[in-house]
Amino acid sequence: MANHEIRSLPIAVRVFPDSGNAERDIRSEKPWRIPEGTLVFDTETRFDATQKLTFGSYRFIVAGQCQEEGLFYGDDLPKADLRVLQEYAAHQPAQTVPGGVEQLRLLTRREFLKLFYDLAYEARCLVVGFNLPFDLSRLAFDFAPARGFFAGGFSLGLWSYRDPAGRERPNGFRPRVCIKYIDSKRALIGFTARNSPDQADLIPEGSVSGEPKPGYKFPGHFLDLRTIAFALTDEAYSLEGACEAFGVEHGKQRAARHGVISAEYIDYNRRDVLATSELALKLIDELVQHPIALPPTFAFSPASIGKGYLRAMGIEPILKRQPTFPKEYIGYAQSAFFGGRTSVHIRKVVCPVVYTDFLSMYSTVNSLMSLWRFVIAREIQVVEHCNQQVDSFLRGLTPDALFEPKTWRHMAGFVKVIPSGDILPIRSKYSAASNDWQVSINHVYAKQEDALWYSIPDVVASVLLTGRVPEIVDAFLIEPRGKLSGLRSTKLRGTVEVDPAHEDFFRVVVEERLRLSSRRGHSKVESKRLEKALKVLANATSYGIYAQMDRQEDDEKLDLTCHGIDVEPFACNVAHPDLPGEFCFPPLASLITGGARLMVALLEHCVSELGGTYVMEDTDSMAIVATEHGGLVRCPGGPFEMKDGHTAVTALSLQQVNNLSARFTKLSPYRNKSRSILKIERDNFDPATGRQRQVYCLAISAKRYSLFLLDEGGNPILLQKGVNNHEDRWSEHGLGHLRSPSGFESEDRDWIPQAWHSIICTALALPTQPLSFEHLPAIGRVTITRPTVKRSLARLNLGKKYGDRLKPFNFLLSCHVKQFGHPPGTDPEKISPCCALRIRFDALG
């Protein structure tokens, strides 16, 4: 280290915030029955900045049978458009069952809202849509920032009346609809209270006595299919994609032209509603396969399902069942929490690699460290100040010992160290330009008074990579005592039995996934669904729920007690703090990610031991520099010199990488010991012949890399799904929000591989053609999801009627211009409504 400058950097550590209030449990303990009635609707809008309602259609379904179907239209709809709707409704029958209303109804927005109120609020029907926040905000006539539980969201006024002066006023005798955006796939939606509620409104859902409960507010049953599809699959689907994935009979069709009302466009909208109603049945059926008491309207994410299973097995959150767990130790563990290890090691240089990946990393680490025993423990005890014990453990460690599974069971603890060149993760501001707090693994130095807490796996990784044990100031271990009473067996997706008292849940889930191909009695579709469900479940329960922190949106500041690296907590008063989620337990979260980082560090050590290196690593994967026979490969900046004078790195041979993989077999916690937990990924094999092929990697930053082949002429061929690989192998990290340069509405993502191809050609010093979209601005889509976003656009809404305003959940286009890539005098920060933007940039040329 003598040649390296040691710079002093500010660091940040996480703290565990305690508001003193137990988290409000919004789950109902009563069994939830799907309402008999369902209202499915969808809206179409103007294709301009206002995106105001033109028309929509709905289906009212009782016990799975469509009783009524109709169209509705927006205020101020041009007469010509209204005539098209009237003509259509007069001649097209409703698609209802015998006994239902045969005529297709045509309602004004106000009439539809009356129906909506009757069904959604009074009859407490299920309200179904795909991306409901957008559709609900089309029906509204005003909006305001929401308060209380929905703080940070919008409160929409749907029902109004005209005062004597003819002004439209909110109807206080009707509820408002609040929507709090969580992310692009999830939002909380609910009714507010209304003035002078009927006695029937005050009867709680599922009431046995029918007795009104003063103050009760019916929240509504809003089911956004985008959300439940995400919860079941961990994938962000479009309506079209979800219909395909779940085998909907009447899937979504595509409109030839959006925005102009025609018979074909009305057909398209009605078909969307039909597809949505069929998809709702499929998704609810899929959720019902899971033997958990989770209403579809509460299935917000895979974690919701994971938590549902824990409850089904009789497992309550650790801090709920053991509220006396010492908070200072939670604080220490929280300060030691970091995410997955991800980095680029050889940057902007094309290298031949073997791409490797750990099998279900977090589940595997959970099993290896035997963390399930804590999840089901009657009590978790802290063994304090066991410095000596931990020091001995660290000093006795060898790489070979880390290949003994039993070693991993001894790492359930935390160490306070004074780093002195030890290789440890740290959160700091590394770049003055970005001013962001970022995590990196560095040689860390600190003064005695700045000792830091780390999980034992992190310290083990440092010992492995540096060969020495850091100075230990303090240490503690956690130990399980007894088992929870009332643990119950459950069947994963109704098929795979797990006994939580005697089996490691994480191990069972992964083993069942591996066993699926040999399972009999399942159709291909069923096997695929079960495989998906197990994968989602493994991910959902193995890590995230123990680290979950939820941002509080209420503008009111909260008094918090924060537990961090110091013995004594500190108090603060902050707005919008992150508060621990229901199952949050930082000791587990920190051990799981620490264990995963150790696993990658162990692989790094093994590669280095053989003289090799790697291009990138990302949480559970590593691209190891390797060729068929190994040896030096050209690499500018590499530590070796080739005969031709070029600098180089050493590539491992394929056999060496295979041997490495075989070595990790010993760490497999699974019954099938013939499989290593370090997989040589399928990308390394030709899907046609099954033979291993030479894959190359170019990484430009952490999480941004591409895998590809080189043809005989040395030209890159990207690994592409359905062409030469089982999936696309180029990173789209950080590009998800950008629209296709071929059109804002296009879902085409082909421009990304084109860009990667060009970047790779440049790195290979091959001639490149200018990209066809190079001169175009990068356009991203932004949704008005929060009042804070809305405020910045308030000026554009001044003096306009609701329909003509930029409304909640409207889409906007934002422009990212290269530095100095805009004409002099142009504001590069400009955000404009979509239609205006197109014109503006066309004008810019």
Binding site: C125, I203, V208, G210
Partner: protein, 171 residues
């Protein structure tokens, strides 16, 4: 045979049904077996139906039902109170509101109400007075087939009522 006319307002009908069910509570049932929410008295613990409540207080269990609605015709017919509440009043709620309330006293709406009321009442009488007989006959036939074989009526006085068949057994 349909026991009720197809509803002309499925959403309104559903709303009324759900709200009525909510008022009496989930799985509410009178000790007499009555479980139709509209027939049960909301807020009663344990749940009790209108007929049982009247019996307990020594009142008649029959109601006078304005078959065409009070606004249209003063004629009434005696109907058991539970059926009045859970069947005929519910059926009237399905009518166009203007027909039932007839605020201006339109003779045409009054006539329409009489027709609608007659239909509802006939359907009710069919269900209560005849439908049970159809059900009984079917059960009895089933019983006879099991006891005496598939053509149990052959060579009995009942044979004269059997539908005529061709030699090949076809109708």
């Amino acid at each position: 045979m349909p026991q009720q006319l197809p509803t002309r307002d499925p959403s309104g009908s559903h709303r009324r049904k759900v709200v009525a069910a909510r008022r009496v509570g989930v799985h509410a049932r009178c000790s007499c077996g009555e479980r139709r929410p509209d027939a049960l008295i909301s807020g009663s613990t344990p749940p009790v139906c209108a007929a049982c409540k009247r019996t307990a207080s020594g009142r008649t269990t029959m109601d006078e039902h304005h078959f065409a609605g009070k606004a249209n015709n003063p004629a009434t017919i005696p109907i058991p109170v539970n059926d009045h509440r859970a069947r005929l009043s519910v059926a009237q709620a399905e009518w166009p509101k203007s027909t039932l309330t007839n605020p201006e006293g339109s003779p045409l709406l009054a006539a329409a109400a009489c027709v609608r009321g007659f239909i509802d009442t006939v359907l009710y009488l069919i269900e209560r007075g005849l439908l049970w007989i159809a059900n009984l006959l079917e059960k009895l036939d089933d019983f006879q087939v099991k006891k005496l074989g598939p053509q149990w009526w052959a060579n009995t006085g009942i044979e004269q009522f059997a539908p005529k068949r061709k030699a090949d057994g076809q109708p």
